[in-house]
């Protein structure tokens, strides 16, 4: 049986996620898969994503993965990363596409033209680099990670969660935005733990050991 399935719907590069998980769980079986049956049988599911959300949703459906992902999000430890966070929401401004609707709220683009830092300098989009993650709630996934630790981000869109109770962390880029949500067995982050050095590996290690109630 597969311990951890990384859902591959043909968008982008999943090797970094896989290598980081193998590093924290050397004895686990970690597979990159586009087979819904493998996703269904896995003990834990990682739902990553890169690129444009309309393409991601389309490719997910082309491979028949939508229902397997929906089931995993309903009943086993589930980690969404980047577009894998955004796709959980109801809709995205990116191509005005519908998401999976597992979380309520929408995905919005950073308004580059109006964004300035504290010194009045214009801010770039994509939001790329290391930003502080401010933990809004306690969660087993934050174990051994200090509040305001920096993680690596690269994205042009962010989620506006309608259910405030699901928000578990914020970051600040001209304004505060939601960078992590948690609901039951779902934990999903805008940043890339697989590229966030020690802090990222700690978060992935927490995921490998996480037993949601």
């Amino acid at each position: 049986m597969t311990d951890i399935a990384i859902v591959d719907y043909g968008m982008g590069n999943l090797h970094s996620v896989s290598k980081a998980l193998e590093h924290v769980a050397p004895n686990a079986s970690v597979v990159i898969t586009s087979d819904p049956a493998v996703v269904r049988k896995a003990a834990r599911v990682v739902f990553p994503g890169q690129g444009a959300m309309p393409n991601c949703i389309r490719e997910l459906d082309v491979r028949g993965l939508r229902s397997a992902v929906m089931e995993a999000a309903a009943n086993k430890p589930f980690l969404g990363i980047c577009i894998g966070l955004q796709m959980l929401f109801e809709m995205s401004e990116e191509g005005n596409v519908s998401g999976l609707g597992i979380m309520s709220g929408k995905v919005t683009r950073f308004p580059a033209l109006t964004m300035k830092d504290d010194s009045g300098r214009k801010l770039k989009v994509p939001h790329m680099g290391w930003n502080q993650v401010h933990q809004a709630t306690e969660h087993p996934m934050w174990a051994d990670i200090a509040n305001d630790t920096r993680f690596y981000f690269v994205h042009s869109y962010f989620v506006e969660a309608a259910n405030l109770e699901a928000i578990t962390a914020y970051s600040y880029y001209s304004f505060p935005f939601v960078c992590a949500v948690a609901k039951d067995n779902i934990f999903a982050v805008q940043f890339h733990p697989e590229k966030s050095q020690a802090a990222g590996l700690t978060l992935l290690n927490n995921f490998v050991h996480w037993e949601p109630n």
Binding site: S16, W130, K195
Partner: protein, 258 residues
Amino acid sequence: MGLAKRIIPCLDVTNGRVVKGVNFIKLRDAGDPVEISRRYDEQGADELTFLDITASSDDRDLILHIIEEVATQVFIPLTVGGGVRQVADVRRLLNAGADKVSINTAAVLNPQLVADAAACYGEQCIVVAIDARQVHDTSTNSVHWEVFTHGGRRATGLDAVEWAKKMALFGAGEILLTSMDKDGTRDGFNLSLIRAVSEAIDIPVIASGGVGNLDHLVEGILQGQADAVLAASIFHYGEYTVRQAKEYMTQHGIEVRL
């Protein structure tokens, strides 16, 4: 509080070794790429950039093996460039463990490559590298910057600022901007070039070429308005650690990841 400015050590790699050139030409050995990558990661580097300067395409697989090995040990973003000519090259590098691929000459020869690669793998992993040389226009007594390709040997007639804007439109996620006049001189960045490009585009700009001390890094951010600074020799030969650079930048009011 917010996004940190990045420090990116750059490793020029040929025949499996890290080397450092002066003005793109003379090379000297700086060590083993995997060992150097690990050291910079421990010192707090925010990303690593590898430029494959191997002349012969027969030896290109060497860089893939190096990236594969680094990617199992170092969990920060890895950018790889050099000899990327088609989408298949981008795929091979991403599959080896690169997170971003840098495209230089091929983007000038075929700008559509940037759009195609961004459509396939996302803008976040496409870096367009621009090598620019300052040109003094005697008729207007002003300067502009011209794009060069083929490792800095061939003039293109393209204006660097306009080219950066076009590449941002085509789907580049980031611009790696090298001043060829400054590269290897240890004289500091060409700040007017960096600033002109950074102000003209919305995507991040990595300043490159000319770093000889820690003040140069500070200038690149504060005066050049760069989002990240790239340097090679000041780190390779142990003059400064990445951590010292970050502490120095913090003292000058720049937000970094410590």
